[in-house]
Subunit: 228 residues, 2 copies
């Protein structure tokens, strides 16, 4: 199994959606090798008509792209490993959780550190990243990130349902981590690897939860150095 | 089985948390009778030390309070009926969904219609409701509701993850409604029964979903008249 994953100028694997898959592979105990790519390499990964994004895995001669589709594939291809996405209603509620992560965690983080993310990339990716992200945001990267010291409190407040969930146990999924933990972890790991801006207060239960997630699987998440 | 439920001056059962239980009882096909109470009657429901809130059910000589505890009880006491809260990780993710409903849907709605809710109550509940809600919000009810025409767009935007989930199927839980649907439905039903303020745009997929929820179980939700 091959995981195609993005690296920045510090050779760090920073992609939030890849961290979902990395944690899912570790949860299932599936070994794999990693092929490093930059944004500029992504179009070259596709062999046919289908567009690929990161993360993409290659397994049994097939490439599968999109983190949700990859984890569903892993659940099916390795039925003896712990299932991460349930069938039926429960899988749909988990998918809602992913949408919440996308619209609240990722979007909130990007408005606080997007220029830092840009600056951490390999210079050959700068032009693509600036142009595509400025188009999405209809602002310069500098404008997106401006005033973050005043805005970080609103971001922290938006995480309140996650904080309430963590009052029930050490992980979002209860006593043991599950895919909802990995979905949320991806966003905070992306920030940790791309920016030194303090997203979470030290005394926040979310900070303690994030540290617990970094400890999982022999400190898998800590093996990548935090941005300085 | 008895369900103790709040009524307003129009004899409408408006409590969002009770609607979770009403829909759960219908989903399970469990018959019950309803005892109407006003806010002022709640302290008198408790017989021992424990404080009761609405909804409370009485079954087999026992009173169970809190919507989550009630639905868990129904799952256990009636194992032949469809289960609504899964054990393990999936139940925890569903609990997160309830926290999201509480912090985003209920809180957002209350900031748009709290004075209308007050005005729809029986006059004997006015003093208690005003005093307790003004203390919670640190504002008068009039101040809480002021400027809602300008604020409703931000509320609609905050519902984006729910809208994304509904792009996958007719219900949050997929092809068939489940407890996540009833959790979200409760908030919108509370608004429908307490205020004529238009919360959702007519062309919003959430509006179509809410209509589908009102149709469920022979139009159970529609049997209570919308506020005018």
């Amino acid at each position: 199994m091959i995981l195609y994953d993005l690296v920045n100028r510090h050779h760090t694997h920073f992609s939030p959606n890849s961290w979902r898959v990395r944690m899912a592979l570790a949860h299932k105990g599936l070994s794999h090798e990693v092929r490093d790519v930059r944004f500029g390499d992504i179009p070259g990964l596709a062999s046919g008509e289908d567009k690929l994004t990161i993360p993409t895995i290659e397994h049994a001669g097939r490439k599968i792209t999109d983190s949700w589709a990859i984890v569903q594939y892993l659940d099916q291809a390795f039925p003896d490993t712990p299932r991460l996405i349930a069938a039926g209603a429960e899988g749909h509620v988990l998918h809602f959780f992913q949408y919440w992560v996308q619209t609240t965690v990722h979007s909130g983080i990007s408005h606080l550190i997007l220029l830092d993310v840009h600056n951490s990339l390999h210079p050959s990716d700068h032009a693509y990243f600036r142009s595509s992200r400025e188009k999405m945001n209809r602002k310069t990267l500098e404008e997106v990130q401006a005033g973050r010291e005043e805005r970080v409190e609103a971001f922290r407040k938006s995480l309140q349902p996650l904080r309430m969930a963590l009052a029930q146990g050490p992980f979002v999924c209860g006593e043991q981590p599950g895919y909802a933990d990995y979905l949320a972890f991806g966003g905070f790991q992306w920030a940790r690897l791309s920016s030194s801006f303090p997203l979470l207060a030290q005394d926040d239960v979310l900070h303690a939860w994030f540290m617990r997630c970094l400890d999982l699987y022999d400190g898998l998440g800590r093996k990548e150095a935090a941005a300085s």
